[in-house]
Symmetry: C2
Subunit: 215 residues, 2 copies
Amino acid sequence: MQTDVPVTDRTRVRREPARGRYDRETVHGIIDAALLCHVAFRDGDSVFCIPTVCWREDGHLYIHGSNGSRMLRALLGGQQACVTVTHLDGLVLARAAFNHSMNYRSVVVLGAFEAVPDDRKAASLDRLMDHLAPGRKHEARPGDANELRSTTVLRIALDEASAKLRTGGPQDDEADLSLDVWAGVLPLAVHALPPVPEPGITRSMPDGLRKWAGA
Amino acid sequence: MQTDVPVTDRTRVRREPARGRYDRETVHGIIDAALLCHVAFRDGDSVFCIPTVCWREDGHLYIHGSNGSRMLRALLGGQQACVTVTHLDGLVLARAAFNHSMNYRSVVVLGAFEAVPDDRKAASLDRLMDHLAPGRKHEARPGDANELRSTTVLRIALDEASAKLRTGGPQDDEADLSLDVWAGVLPLAVHALPPVPEPGITRSMPDGLRKWAGA
């Protein structure tokens, strides 16, 4: 087991521990391949789980949204939250129903979010643009003062984080190997379909977007 | 706004309310198109967000796992949890950085999970098999008594649930429409890649799996 990000009692993978990874390269790579995370937080007596766009800068995961967002307001209080990024990589079909599984890569981050100061918001949102499409920050019209003022950017340190992943084929019991049942993996992946330009757009899609073609 | 599932203060979509949907057909359809959900729950002072396989039977969303799972044990206590299903349908690229968005379909379910009784577990896990691949429950070796005993199946009612979705192109400000910037949608979708059979498997992939080919 590689350990690089410190492992805590909250982030140690207990179920299927051999699938746990704690090295920075794995944790960062899974986040960098994602557009969305799910954020779990408390609001009053309730727990919520909300999907939102995420990106990484060095040792932090970033999210953003409108100042009025219930989630962002709740997170600004400094509560302990959880952020999860998941990629589903395939259906794992075993000969026995019980041994069916999924191939996946996930990261769970625990901690409190902090607000990105006003004077660093524009640079941070440029990083989001870079994540969506390298170079796009030089093409799109940048945010003006009002747009920046109405946007909250939050970040959470990747200090208490763990990755969990499964790869490979099914693990059937020896006694089931001779059964006449199809077994294997059906790999699943996110792919971009042909772009749909707005009416009147005649230039071709920017090269930066091609990174998602085989995402 | 269609209302069919009762709308509560917890499930009413407040941010971009026009994207909210509360009809059963939309909520069920988004869940049925998913293999994974994210479950947010409390364990001690911490909030966790864990991805897991899900399926629907009538008015409930189901999850399952090992009896030893920390998540399932925490949920069995009857706490208020949150389950979220999200499909990312595309990158929405506007002429202005601020107006970039995503097309998506999501469902948020609030409530408490309950255990599926032992005598109904096998039938319920058959439904999971049907969800993964129609007909596969007749092919794979069914769970034996030990396997069933070691598995916990939980369900949550879809009574307090809301869907949120965005479709279509970017909504740029009038003043930005003449900018020479590519704008449009890059649709994203999950696709199956060619199946990878286990060594020694010569029969072809079951037809039931083809449902994910254009998932």
